[in-house]
Every structure is written in C-alpha cells, then in structure tokens.
C-alpha cells in the first residue's frame, strides 16, 4: 500500500514564525504536491515537484516555498506565518503520468494565532 505521511496532524504557530511541514512517501513516486483545503474552496495547489530539486508554482504560491532534496520527501515552508494561512494542508504523491491517481496524506491542520 502506498503511504504518504505528514509530520504533524495539528500545529499551532504564532504570526511571523517560520513553519516547516514535512511530507514523506514510500512508493518511489516522481511527483509530489502540496495543497491547502479550505471549506467551500476545495483543494488548491500551492506547489508541486516532479523530480528532486525541481519545483513549480501552483495556483496559490504566495507566502510559501518548498524544498525537495530527496525523492521521498517534500517540505512546505511558510517563511513568516500569517493568520490567513490557517488551513488544512494536504500532501500528495503520484507516478509521472496523468492517468495515475494521487495518493494523499492525512493532512496537517495549521492554526496561526
């Protein structure tokens, strides 16, 4: 079974803090993704990566950066957390073709106070 794990289920941070969200997958997938999920807005893509050290901006990259130093690990970084970044963050991974599904982690609910 594919497994995507995220470092924390719940996280509370203060405004201005630097926040790291970690994601690890164990199926040797080339593609990895970070989304945020907000009620009524569905899932919106923040960044994705199609190979080690490669990344592309998604639909809402402002205020975020990412790092992919190893194939299995994809990190999302909030350089200076703000209250409007309070959300559920989902990581996903997939094989390198559009016919393949994405596999999702359990999510990290981040609250910025």
């Amino acid at each position: 079974d594919v497994k995507v794990t995220q470092s924390s289920r719940y996280l509370v941070k203060r405004t201005g803090e630097k926040v790291f969200l970690e994601c690890v997958q164990d199926m040797d997938h080339e593609n990895m993704f970070w989304y945020r999920q907000d009620p009524g807005l569905g899932l919106r893509l923040i960044y994705f990566s199609y190979d080690v050290k490669m990344k592309e901006k998604g639909d809402i990259p402002e205020g975020y950066s990412v790092s992919r130093e190893k194939k299995e690990r994809f990190s999302l970084i909030l350089e200076s957390a703000s209250t409007n970044q309070t959300s559920m963050y989902l990581c996903a991974s997939s094989l390198r073709d559009g016919i393949y599904e994405q596999y999702f982690g359990p999510g990290t609910r981040l609250t910025v106070t």
């Binding site: 080339e30 569905g42 390198r96 559009g98 016919i99």
Partner: protein
C-alpha cells in the same frame, strides 16, 4: 484557464435514496477525470477514475460515473446510498502529461440520514 464546477455544495439524503452529484469541467482537449472522497477524519482517497475506453466507470463501494464528452461532464452516481457514504466528494481533472497536475472542484458535502 481550466476549471471544475460542482453544482451541489451540500446534499442531504435518506438511506436508500439514489445519488447523483454533478461535475463539469472547462477544457476542450483530452482529459483524465477523477472522483475522490474524504470520509470524516480520513485521508482523501480515490473513488474512481476515467482516462480512456468505456465512458461508464465503476468505482469502490458501488459508485459509478459517466463521462459525457459533449457535455464536459463526469457525474457521480449511486443507486442506493448508505449512512456510511456520508463524506465530502471532490471531482478533479487533469489534462495528462508528466506533471499529473489536478484541478479540483470545490467539493460536495453529502449527509445521509439513517
């Protein structure tokens, strides 16, 4: 820009009722289509997908969806829902290619009353 529309934001049904959730997308070329489900407190998981062949696809737990190219639609159906189908359902589309980038609809929250 490509987009996905889910017309029903919140649906309430009684057990044994039939379900149809609408999904329309805006893209004129070849697409791959997905329905994902998120049960309360669980991961988002794949319900079914279409990428070629028979436009009527069957998924897990008795769900099916029909791809109608002329209508740019991929509606999800189940003939008889159960309380355990209470969940949020997301339609998603990609246009193929190596990056496998998905565009999601806003989701439909389904509540099934026993």
């Amino acid at each position: 820009a490509q987009s996905v529309s889910q017309h029903n934001h919140h649906v309430i049904l009684s057990e044994a009722a039939s379900l149809e959730l609408g999904c329309n997308y805006s893209y004129g070329g070849t697409v791959n289509l997905f329905w994902y489900v998120q049960y309360p407190g669980q991961h988002l998981q794949l319900l079914l997908k279409y990428f070629s062949g028979d436009p009527l696809v069957k998924g897990i737990k008795g769900f099916e969806a029909e791809f109608i190219k002329s209508k740019f639609s991929f509606n999800l159906r189940k003939p008889s829902v159960q309380w355990s189908d209470t969940a949020e359902y997301f339609c998603a589309v990609n246009t193929g290619g190596a990056t496998n980038k998905l565009i999601f609809g806003t989701g439909t929250l389904l509540a099934v009353q026993p």
